[in-house]
Symmetry: C2
Subunit: 359 residues, 2 copies
Amino acid sequence: MGAIPQGGSGEGSEVAGTLEEIARLSGVSRSTVSRVINNNARVSPTTRERVLEIIRREGYRPNLTARQLASGRANVLGVVIPLGSPDVLSDPYFSKLLHGIAVEADSHDQHVMLSLAEPSFRHRIDEVAGQGIIDGVIVSAAQEGDPFLVRLIEAGIAFISVGRVDDERVSYVDIDNVGSARQATGHLLRLGRRRVATIAGPLYATASIDRLRGYREALDQYGLQFDNDLVVAGDFTEAGGRAGMRRLLEHRPDGVFVASDRMAAGALNELRASGLQIPDDVALVGFDDIPLSREMEPPLTTVRQQIETLGAAAVNLLLDLIHDPTASASRVILPSELVVRASCGAHLNQERKAIDATT
Amino acid sequence: MGAIPQGGSGEGSEVAGTLEEIARLSGVSRSTVSRVINNNARVSPTTRERVLEIIRREGYRPNLTARQLASGRANVLGVVIPLGSPDVLSDPYFSKLLHGIAVEADSHDQHVMLSLAEPSFRHRIDEVAGQGIIDGVIVSAAQEGDPFLVRLIEAGIAFISVGRVDDERVSYVDIDNVGSARQATGHLLRLGRRRVATIAGPLYATASIDRLRGYREALDQYGLQFDNDLVVAGDFTEAGGRAGMRRLLEHRPDGVFVASDRMAAGALNELRASGLQIPDDVALVGFDDIPLSREMEPPLTTVRQQIETLGAAAVNLLLDLIHDPTASASRVILPSELVVRASCGAHLNQERKAIDATT
DNA sequence: AGTTACGGTGAGAGCGCTCCCATCATTCCA
DNA sequence: TGGAATGATGGGAGCGCTCTCACCGTAACT
């Protein structure tokens, strides 16, 4: 029937249809339908209602791909989770973070594309990020000087980090890891512990570094010497925490600041297996306040960070960045707090005080 | 300077460039470059080499969105994880499943888009699935008669389920949950336990239903009466397992088949808190074989399923389906095996046998 | 030498949207 | 009541790719 590009429209009983089709059915132009869909242009109420009716009737959904291509916006946010160890993802931290991200993204009509960033997969992300499929990236647990971040920066891709990154060009959300760790360690010291050790996170992560620094600062405040034997690095898993505690036990700590609750759970198991009493023999303070923490035996004293809020903040920051790429980098530091439960032995001291008082 | 559609190309120092640009630079047509990129057409080796060289030099990456729109294929697979409870995702099961999916997808040059399927979010997925962004969906832990599945089916969206779905139109990968549960429960019975209880999963999940059925079948085989008091349903979390065990303890079981290792961990804590010996007082068998299981005290006897393989199989099945949408639904049942460790008390019986033998 | 075959290549038409600009009624101001 | 502003709509180009088809040159056949 000639080269007339009319074509289409007759391709059988497709589920959705196209803009053009809706336009035809409602007797207006494609442009008008487009305006209705993106409901911010000026269309007369009558027309709008009529078009909406047809759209509803036909069950029409705009083709996101076409929209992306034409507008340059995808309404998809990428999230990159490191997958160094095969089951980092099972850390409730990420679970919560993702949840926070998903909820906030949803409220902004954004889709979330999650990438498990095995180092070997990262090529996928920047491929995708550079080329229209996603508008921006939230990177979690980035490492110092991570070449991946460098690529994102150089490619001019909008991204924000969950966790401090030392580069003036990058925006991030974080908590005050140094201060929180100082507080947590200080708490043990205040309770009279003097051989306070720490099970740090992997030392390539900025969060680990900061928490370790807070630990040192607390020792300093109490005029205590930093002792290398009282520091081990874990990998944020239970197994890592357990192994760390095993090594630590050779040096007889009476308190341990553990850089994540998941590791604290492992540490706790090791202590129990060694027949040690918590908090009597060894007091424990964790970090994160995951659901499990309150159910441990004894319940874990820990630093609570609002992980879901962190995720939500990341989404908002990223969206801002996408809307105004020229804006300078911004940082958001969310509050955290020490949640005192039983594992630190605070109640022991209270009892002791009570006894003192009665004496 | 008129309305000549040449345009483009001069838009500043973009990172990537376009097909057209590469074509110009290498002195061939857009078509040829396209062939080179999709490296399966017939292009002379000389030309191909030259074009590849330019592509490399310019750091060109094809725009995936445009490619999607033109080809109708996105090379993105969606994965839907239920998010009923806020931290299901932290179950190592999903962690492993995702890992298996990610690795396999990567090897097929597919991206993975993960959706946390809060019931309220599902609109996002079918929006996306219906409209070009993704080619197909892997649904995990679907529920019987889930309206979401119905929508996917009716919309003609390619999808496969990880876990049995009773609908002849849907393809799935699964393990033999009934058989495995029968074997696990039978194992406890064979070891002489007679009050064998079970902590089932949430009963809307087919896996839970099947495992419960296997439990019943095992009782039948041993001529034991099914006792409703010995059955509780958990939610696949530690807390759920723990709560389940607490209720179960009122009815004095001497063995428990727990439908997931994560719940088994919770159950184990409860038993310990009650001062009961494992396996002496109560023997335990779990399901999944997550990393934690071998580190429990005592190590957990459990059903090992190759979760990552399950994920990989799902990817392959889905890709098949995408390539040939007319193919009839297929099912893949992967093997599973009982891993005997200490929590079931098998070694006790062996010792007993050994003693018998010496007597 | 005439035909067929085919490997290698280019041109054009879309994919389904958005966005800019043109058009045409209205309505407002002096 | 004439000219400008304003509101509502339509038309066209184009986002960057893929895909079909046409084309040309050379090798292989009769």
